[in-house]
Symmetry: C2
Subunit: 295 residues, 2 copies
């Protein structure tokens, strides 16, 4: 399978689904609708909705009931980027070569657009209750989605990350940050896909573990690329972690140990996934691609 061209095809399919759930840019609130849509349309690999959909397929899910949740998780991911880029946070004016939301719409609108996207994510997913009021999996999926995005998940990781800036963190805290800041939303994506497809509790636990391992490997690979890649390949300045005195897996354990850890985590994730004895060739390739990507 040509992963790269297959990936592009799926990204464009997912972006068609996302478009269906974006608000129409009309009425008195036109500006905030534009800011929300600008943020979501700014691109990205759409990994989280893709992982959700592929995990749903892995467990035999084949309806459109998954779509509002796919849109929701991409909105959650997007809001977190919009707020991360704010002046009081990372103060970034560009992301993926495009102006960030607050750079275009101003800081107040950047805050409100992020708030609006987070809320709209849950509003979008909640519409599933109308479609299938008797389906108990929707409530369960909601629980996973909210918990992994919040203070015991992504937001919790962001806050510890912000607080630890310029300070040397130990391995325990580093794992905590990676698990919450990076893994939590990947776990959310895959577990929500599993729950909506009717996976049993044991299967859900396996999927959560696979996603957690992949998230860790993904983040350590990020640290490695920041050290070993080039501006040309990565498309953004390298060496920023070192410059910002940021504790990373590489700064704590060195490059070689980091590469070994990525390999170890990958092997473990693949073994656990195969232990389910279910088949989704693309999902396996996608996970490997995420971990071994060069940018």
């Amino acid at each position: 399978m040509e992963i790269k061209s297959e990936l592009d095809k799926r990204i464009s399919e997912i972006e068609k689904i996302l478009e269906k759930y974006l608000p129409r840019e009309e009425g008195y609130q036109k500006t905030i609708f534009e800011a929300m849509n600008y943020s979501v349309r700014a691109g990205g690999k759409r990994l989280r909705p893709m992982l959700m959909q592929e995990t749903y397929r892995l467990f035999g899910g084949n309806s459109k009931a998954i779509e509002p949740f796919m849109a929701a998780i991409e909105m959650i991911h997007t809001y977190s980027l919009v707020h991360d880029d704010l002046p009081a946070m990372d103060n970034d004016l560009y992301r993926r070569g495009k102006k960030t939301t607050h750079a275009v719409y101003g800081e107040a609108m950047g805050i409100l657009a992020g708030d609006a996207l987070l809320n709209f994510a849950y509003e979008t997913a909640a519409a599933s209750f109308l479609l299938e009021p008797q389906n108990p999996n929707i409530g369960k999926a909601f629980l996973v989605l909210t918990k992994k995005a919040g203070v015991y998940g992504m937001v919790g990781g962001q806050t510890v990350d912000v607080e630890s800036e310029g300070e040397k963190v130990d391995a325990g805290k580093l794992y905590f940050i990676y698990r919450l800041k990076t893994s939590a939303l990947l776990e959310s994506a895959m577990v929500v896909g599993a729950v909506l497809a009717g996976a049993d509790e044991n299967q859900q636990r396996v999927i959560e573990s696979v996603a957690g391992l992949v998230g860790l490997a993904f983040q350590i690979q990020d640290d490695i690329l920041d050290e070993t890649s080039t501006l040309e390949v990565l498309g953004k300045p390298i060496g920023s972690d070192k410059k910002n005195n940021k504790s990373t897996y590489v700064s704590l354990f060195g490059l070689e140990a980091s590469q070994k850890e990525v390999a170890k985590l990958t092997l473990k994730a693949m073994e656990e996934l195969q232990g389910l004895s279910l088949k989704n060739e693309f999902l396996g390739e996608l996970l490997l691609y995420l971990i071994h990507r060069e940018k």
Copy 2:
């Protein structure tokens, strides 16, 4: 009924319920937990959970199933204040005589604490799915809660309000702002209470209308007090709307017409509420108190 002493009693009951749902201040994310709890504990009249609970009682609801939703709506209200107070928004260092969240914890933590509270609101309400997985009203209540807080509700109103600063707005836009910024969350409170108690769709519509009218009257009374009260009574500087060149009902229609409008809206709300032929004496008194308050 002595509304003031009854109100104080209920506020303290509601604050006991809120405490049950606040996160424990422990672990690596201790700071964000503290910031969230600081914001929620900063006080206020707890109107939204109170209106939710009283509407629930009006329709015969008498279980604890309402409690996570009461906590959720107060968290949503609180997050909106935390973000409103940020430097890029209203830039307020004090609220109700206490330092605002970002004034205590810094601007980055102010943004994240708001995000965390909004997300935690839905996480808290979602826990109801575990308690009553077969209750279809929970999904319906979720739909109301998310929609009224978002871009078609409160956040939508905030954005138009922010965009209209220093600009003369016409009556249509003013009503739009009041309806979304102020009424929407009161509608959410009362409709969620009705839905969870099993009110039928017609009853839900009446309650939504009552809450909308009360919200409008409440906001116009706010405008009137800003013009006619004193610093001593109100506990905050008066005349701020005029100073900020803010379009209000009073600036558009004058003081007398504003007072007449409050009376008209109140009468209509009370008539509609009585049309339900259900009895909750405290709810009626509470609504009148809200509208005719002097601070």
